[in-house]
């Protein structure tokens, strides 16, 4: 590539010699507000297809030089619709901008270019900076949740910096990754977790400062996404960062906010009195049951035996000599999981401005966020420079560059005793500190996680540089060339230490150090051709190539045997227990062509084709073709509707195309032998069976959409129906172990997603002082596994089963409690109830993916005040509380403290309840079953914001150009039937490659930390 670039630069020098003399004509004019005719200052006026531009003066006037051949000016201003004006031979152009066609004239970023919303024939959801700025979550995806129809975002837990699960129009793969492709300013970026695989996934996108984002576009259908070909089946998320604009006075902006968070919900566990009472009741019940089973001669004998046993082994032992009969100790361990108040602070400063020669955006930020759970904290700082310079009227070049550092203080994953979330299992009669020594109590039912919190740490530090340099060259006003060279360098170090006292320290002290570097090199080079074909025709064609190379290297060292806790790095380890390094590479080489044609602004046609080659497939199957086409008809431009008063806009569009998925990790097509490290005897052994015929997973997607606007677009919206058929699934198919291997990747099987998306925006009241707008989006998705060759692909309690949606819960069906005996009942194979768990039939008892998702927002402004309330909702999914077998099993899973629901247990013959008789010794209803499946639907007030913007006069007095003060609340109100926070998913979230168990596993709660309820106070000042 270096050789290529030196040649390339040489050529540009050559080309610049070809520039011929310019002939300008000067255009003047005035821009006004369509509502009242008042002058609009600060409107950007740009020559289409060039970087040339200016801004209107305080009286709304402007003057601009139009180069020869250029004919069109673009007028854009925040809050108003963008207008393109073909000046023809005019030398004076007056324009009035309106808020009513804001949405339709909005510029939407698509792959390798932009389009006006009115002309789009694909399905693209756009979320603007306003929705993303100042959202109190580490990563911008959280702010998208509920904003874009058909984009489902799950953050999984209230820990900070964790991976996010994002699905665009459903999960479209089983074994390959289903996360969308993320592209920042044209550069595909690393979005999959690079952290220690033994802990939860982290989210590399959290390294992007959300306040740098100008817009996020989600390419949903094939027509929009196919330009990203082989990587587009899961949707593409295009992130555009803020840029300076020509003619803009330099504006400095300061944002500062502080937040206070607590968990949205606590489960509620038994207090000391309830706990001891129930333990003694368990002894009594076990005694009676024992006599029934013939283990004791009389009930009393059994009761005495178990009472003695449980009293000694549990109540006496774990109360540490305190008087448990009188509840001398009554610890609420759930409170120990969380901080009293989790603080967050955020500060960022940016400057933006520019002239015809140079435009810039520069920013710096600092962000410190504590999770609601103890220990967990995320700190970041960094900066960005986006710079563009017009060297000549033909040549412009620039750079978009962000660098930052983040530090994540982590807790262990949900399935480790030491994680704070599992403190809830400890007994209320156990003190947190040993009364005899004053030290943290080390005689607890399970190792005391507070000891790990005090004497262990896990710190992950990331250095990230994302940037690209670019160059635009206009050969003629209708032919331009753009070249981008970008890189994403992601360095991550993870340092962990477990002191001797801790459970994970194994009595000797353990430490680890991981270093991972993941670097991507990307170049995009493309021509854009926009010929003048007369007033009725408009054509834009793009032809180009792209190359991506990703290099991954990692090293790990682990050691143990520390002299003390004083030194926490591996220098003090007595023994190095493991050390290793590895490296991997993958590449993608792609070519693409796209043409958009419009006739009379009425009939729209778009076609694209992309071919991708990838190192992930064998030499014969490397390339794939991904064509797409779409049609649009702006019906409201037809004569019979053109002057209709009620209907202001109506467009019908349809698209069909193919996209691909290659997210299966590297080298999956090869048979491989791994290196082994038997002591003193290094060797090789086979570990992967290859398949030379492996190729792309293909998704064919059909989309039909209707866009409409009524009453001067006061009511506008769109409705989409889509049908996504994925075939040649990259399926990790099980093969007999007797082959020496567990599985092989094969292109086999089919999966479908069908759905409807509805977006409606209304401007209910629109006056100068008072406005009220509403937006609603709704999405329905139905997923079905159509064919996996009869295989059962299982992950935890969930499965991919033919004919069912992916990720159904497959468990014995709990059928209540026998009122006579208090025994738990299950359904057997014949549908009859049984008390014998081994006879219980496993069946589909729920599904993890919702039917309906959406968001509902209302914004009211009155003079300087703005108030918005944003609800999100999810309907039709189930949650399985996998920890129920321990925390709500009537002691059948151990003497863990129980949730309050257990108070409703069966106590005597005739009791009608769904909570079985308590039993430790014999167990009763404590095994995994649908008993802990809940409806996961919820609606929540996700954001409510009240802001006050200083009047212009007051701002002038303060010598600032504007200021806004706001208070916001997040997750203030939730309605759900789930017992904890319904936005929950333990373990893997955010997996892009590998076997991607998260496609199947979701909606599982296992001591998972609930989401945060947050109050924020913030200030925004513009200078």
């Amino acid at each position: 590539m270096q050789r290529f670039y030196s040649l390339f630069v040489g050529m540009l020098v050559l080309m610049s010699q070809l520039v011929y003399a310019q002939q300008h004509s000067t255009i003047t004019g005035k821009v006004t507000d369509a509502r009242d005719g008042s002058a609009l200052p600060g409107v950007t006026v740009q020559v289409k297809g060039t970087a040339l531009g200016t801004a209107t003066q305080p009286d709304g006037t402007f003057q601009i030089n139009l180069p020869q051949g250029a004919t069109t000016l673009i007028f854009s201003f925040v809050g108003f619709g963008t207008q393109e004006v073909n000046v023809g031979t005019q030398r004076n152009v007056n324009v009035s901008l309106s808020t009513s066609d804001k949405d339709l004239s909005e510029v939407v970023v698509v792959g390798y270019g932009t389009q006006v919303k009115r002309d789009l024939t694909g399905s693209v959801a756009k979320v603007g900076a306003r929705e993303i700025e100042n959202f109190p979550a580490p990563s911008f995806e959280s702010a998208l949740q509920g904003r874009a129809a058909g984009v489902v975002i799950e953050s999984g837990s209230g820990k900070v910096g964790q991976g996010m699960k994002v699905r665009v129009r459903g999960t479209s793969s089983i074994s390959a990754g289903s996360q969308p492709l993320y592209v920042i300013d044209g550069m595909p970026v690393i979005s999959e977790s690079q952290s220690d695989i033994n802990n939860d996934n982290t989210n590399p996108l959290a390294d992007l400062n959300p306040n740098d984002i100008a817009s996020v576009e989600v390419l949903k259908d094939a027509s929009a996404a196919a330009i990203y070909g082989a990587r587009a089946s899961n949707g593409v998320v295009l992130i555009t960062t803020k840029k300076g604009r020509p003619g803009e006075k330099t504006r400095i902006e300061l944002n500062a906010s502080t937040s206070f968070s607590r968990p949205t919900k606590k489960r509620g566990f038994l207090d000391a009195k309830e706990y001891t009472d129930l333990v003694l009741e368990t002894a009594r019940m076990d005694g009676i049951t024992g006599a029934r089973y013939g283990d004791f001669a009389t009930e009393q004998e059994g009761i005495d035996y178990f009472t003695n046993l449980y009293t000694q082994a549990i109540l006496d032992r774990f109360s540490l000599g305190t008087n448990w009969q009188q509840q001398e100790v009554n610890t609420n361990w759930e409170d120990e999981v969380y901080r009293d108040v989790a603080h967050a602070r955020q500060l960022d400063l940016s400057a933006t401005g520019g002239n015809e020669k140079t435009r810039f955006y520069v920013s710096g930020f600092y962000n410190d966020q504590e999770a609601v759970v103890i220990v967990n904290r995320f700190r970041r700082y960094g900066g960005r420079l986006n710079l563009e310079h017009s060297a000549t009227s033909r040549l412009s070049l620039g750079i978009n560059l962000a660098m930052n550092r983040s530090q994540l203080d982590r807790v262990t994953n949900d399935n480790i005793f030491s994680t704070p979330g599992q403190l809830v299992a400890q007994l209320p009669i156990s003190p947190t500190h040993d009364p005899a020594t004053g030290e943290l109590n080390s005689t607890t039912l399970y190792s005391n996680g507070l000891i790990d919190a005090a004497y262990s740490f896990n710190k992950q530090v990331t250095f990230r540089t994302i940037g690209n340099a670019f160059l635009n060259y206009n050969f003629t006003p209708y032919l331009s060339f753009r070249s981008e060279l970008g890189t994403d360098i992601y360095n991550i170090t993870e340092q962990g230490f477990n002191g001797k006292q801790t459970q994970d320290g194994g009595g000797v002290g353990r430490a680890e150090y991981f270093f991972t570097q993941n670097a991507s090199l990307n170049t995009n080079n493309y021509f854009t051709f926009t010929p003048h074909l007369g007033a009725q025709h408009s054509l834009t064609a793009t032809l180009g190539m792209s190359y991506l190379q990703n290099d991954f290297s990692a090293s790990t060292v682990q050691g143990e045997g520390f002299p003390s806790d004083a030194i926490k790095n591996l220098a003090a380890a007595g023994t190095i227990t493991s050390g290793s390094s590895s490296n991997q590479r993958y590449t993608f080489l792609s070519y693409f062509l796209r043409a958009n044609y419009a006739f009379n602004n009425k009939y729209l046609v778009s076609a694209s084709v992309r071919t991708d080659g990838s190192s992930r497939f064998g030499p014969n199957k490397r390339y794939g073709w991904f064509p797409a086409g779409s049609l649009g008809w702006v019906i409201s431009e037809e004569d019979f509707l053109k002057n209709n008063k009620a209907l202001s806009f109506l467009k019908l569009r349809a698209s069909y195309g193919l996209t691909g998925n290659a997210e299966i990790g590297n080298n999956s097509y090869l048979t491989l032998l791994e290196v082994t490290n038997y002591p003193e005897q290094p060797g090789f052994r086979p570990f992967q069976l290859g398949n030379e015929d492996l190729h792309w997973e293909r998704t064919a997607q059909m989309d039909v959409g209707l866009e409409f606007g009524f009453l001067d677009n006061r009511i506008s919206g769109e409705i989409d129906y889509y049908n996504k058929q994925t075939s040649d699934l990259l399926l990790q198919a099980n093969i007999p172990y007797t082959t020496g291997f567990a599985s092989i990747y094969r292109n086999t099987g089919k999966l479908e997603n069908k759905g409807v998306e509805i977006t409606i925006n209304t401007r209910n009241i629109d006056t100068k002082d008072f406005t009220w707008t509403t937006s609603l989006n709704l999405a329905y998705n139905k997923n079905k596994v159509k064919d996996i060759q009869g295989q059962i692909i299982e992950s935890g309690q969930q499965r991919a089963v033919e004919g069912e949606p992916i990720g159904v819960f497959f468990l014995p069906k709990f059928a209540g409690v026998d009122p006579e005996t208090g025994d738990a009942l299950y359904l057997d194979a014949d549908g009859k109830t049984t008390t014998d768990y081994s006879q219980a039939e496993r069946m589909v008892v729920g599904k993890a993916n919702p039917d309906w998702t959406g968001g509902f927002n209302n914004t009211v402004t009155y003079k300087g005040f703005d108030l918005s309330a944003f609800f999100t909702f999810v309907e039709g999914n189930n949650i399985y509380n996998r920890a129920g077998v321990y925390q709500a099993a009537g002691f059948g899973g151990g003497f863990d403290n129980q949730t309050k629901e257990i108070l409703g247990r069966w106590q005597q013959a005739g009791d009608v309840t769904n909570v079985p008789r308590l039993s430790y010794w014999y167990g009763n209803g404590h095994r995994a079953s649908s008993r802990w499946i809940y409806d996961g639907s919820y609606i929540r007030l996700r954001t409510v914001t009240l802001g006050y913007t200083l009047p212009q006069k007051a701002a002038s007095l303060l010598r600032i150009s504007g200021a806004r003060l706001y208070v916001a609340g997040y997750n203030l109100w939730t309605r759900t039937d789930y017992i904890s926070d319904p936005e929950v998913n333990t373990g893997v979230t955010g997996t892009r490659t590998s076997s991607a168990p998260e496609n199947i596993t979701s909606g599982v709660d296992f001591y998972t930390i609930p989401q945060a309820r947050t109050f924020t106070v913030g200030l925004n000042v513009k200078f």
Binding site: L589, T676, T738
Partner: protein, 453 residues
């Protein structure tokens, strides 16, 4: 002219863009493809790679030893939270048992790796070909012996030409077109034993007498002794054990405790698995020490029935080879010292076993190959300061084997061979062998399930 230059340069640009196709050829960074096995050293590396699998927790690193003991209630209990283990101890394992699946899976990885090495012997010089072949067959043979014994009815149950054991795969699977090679029905108990004996006889004939920590000739004889014992072929068993005792360069460790928790093979290790800090069967959730050692060294999930001490006379060193401790979840109990230290050598066959085998085989065969049963048994007892026996009955051999080899996975084979009851269950009870993994039957319809699952 200007335009021409411009368009030529555009065309040129595209030409360059199209020419980086070879960038798509990427070599795997940390593994090799089978075509990279090109010489003798590579073939040897594949054989050595197989020792790593023997060390795995689904082989001798844990389950070949712990699971047989759990199946026959060899005086241990499981106090941990891992349900698959407690299910086995309670004989509640079912066809989805992750332990059965793990053992099956790892076993066939061992077999495929041996088959791969055997298929590459044409790359090996004549000097080493016989020994390398023998070594690959040794690993394949002992693996089939373990799989056959855990998944099939015991040899002692008869019907060996109809009772099914495990599929016999003797050719390597290396690419997707070989899948049929590995997709076989179960072979009979007889066929599996014949293959085991054939492999081990080849190994015994061609392995060197001294091979460092790798398998030597006597390791093969020792396993042959186990196989013959399981068949009730006491004459051959006595002869094979006698080969190990008389021809091998092994001696009983001077004291019982010196036979365990060693950093390198003890003088009585006929065959043992090596471990160190970097290479072991697991320290968190798997491995013998992880389960058998009290917290914090291990999880302490496997506790010893304290009544085991009653099996030893006072003064017997083995009687005190236990300690009190607690599990990771705080359960108090007794622990054996055999697996007390992390990263230690795991004895697979100790010379003491060969003495006990020769003694019992001679006794049952009414022979005295090598030495008398009394002398052999007393050699083992004497080392632990137990009083010498003066007379011997059948039960003495069973009892002494357990006293000496408790928690080393031996009891299972004695129970099966002598048709002993396990609690109320007969030796051939359905639940005293493992199920054929359901997962395996889902992808290979030729496999039958064991009765009771």
């Amino acid at each position: 002219m200007k335009y021409l230059a411009k368009y030529i340069s555009i065309a040129f640009l595209f030409f360059i863009l199209l020419s980086c196709n070879k960038k798509l050829d990427v070599e795997p960074g940390t593994s090799i493809v089978p075509e990279q096995i090109t010489n003798e050293a590579d073939v040897e590396a594949v054989i050595l790679g197989n020792y790593k699998s023997l060390q795995h927790f689904s082989a001798f690193g844990e389950r070949y030893i712990l699971i047989p003991d759990m199946l026959v209630d060899a005086k241990l209990s499981f106090v941990g939270t891992f349900i698959p283990y407690s299910e086995i101890l309670r004989k509640q394992q079912d066809k989805t048992s992750s332990i059965a699946e793990g053992i099956w899976n790892r076993g066939y990885q061992l077999i495929n790796t041996s088959n791969l090495a055997l298929s590459k012997m044409d790359l090996v010089s004549d000097d080493n070909k016989a020994a390398f072949t023998a070594e690959a067959k040794f690993i394949r043979g002992i693996t089939y012996f373990m799989l056959g014994g855990l998944f099939g009815k015991p040899y002692s149950a008869g019907n060996i030409t109809t009772n099914e054991a495990v599929p016999l795969v003797l050719e390597p699977v290396l690419n997707s077109s070989d899948l049929a090679t590995g997709n076989k029905p179960r072979a009979t108990v007889d066929a599996v034993y014949k293959q085991v004996i054939e492999d081990l006889q080849d190994a015994a004939a061609n392995l060197p007498a001294d091979n460092g920590a790798r398998a030597n000739k006597f390791a093969a004889y020792a396993f042959l002794a186990r196989v013959y014992m399981a068949q009730g072929n006491y004459a051959e068993a006595a002869a094979a054990a006698n080969m190990v005792i008389t021809e091998g360069n092994f001696t009983l460790a001077t004291s019982f405790d010196m036979a365990f928790n060693n950093a390198a093979n003890s003088p009585e290790d006929v065959f043992a698995i090596q471990q160190n800090e970097q290479s072991n069967a697991g320290v968190n959730n798997n491995g013998l020490t992880t389960f058998f050692a009290a917290s914090p060294t291990g999880r302490g999930d496997v506790q010893v029935d304290p009544t085991i001490a009653d099996l030893y006379e006072d003064g017997d060193i083995r009687k005190t080879y236990f300690y009190e401790g607690e599990s990771i979840t705080g359960a108090q109990g007794s622990y054996t010292r055999k697996w007390e230290k992390r990263y230690s050598v795991i004895p697979v066959v100790r010379l003491a076993e060969m003495y006990l085998t020769r003694a019992e085989a001679n006794f049952r065969n009414s022979s005295a190959i090598g030495d008398t049963p009394l002398n052999d048994i007393n050699a083992v007892r004497d080392r632990s300061n137990a009083t010498a026996k003066v007379t011997l009955a059948e039960d003495d051999f069973i009892a002494e084997r357990f006293r000496e080899l408790a928690f080393e996975g031996d009891r299972y084979w004695t129970v099966k061979r002598l048709r002993l009851d396990v609690g109320s269950r007969p030796y051939d009870d359905d639940k005293l062998i493992l199920p054929i993994p359901q997962r395996e039957r889902d992808v290979n319809s030729q496999l039958t399930q064991n009765s009771g699952y």
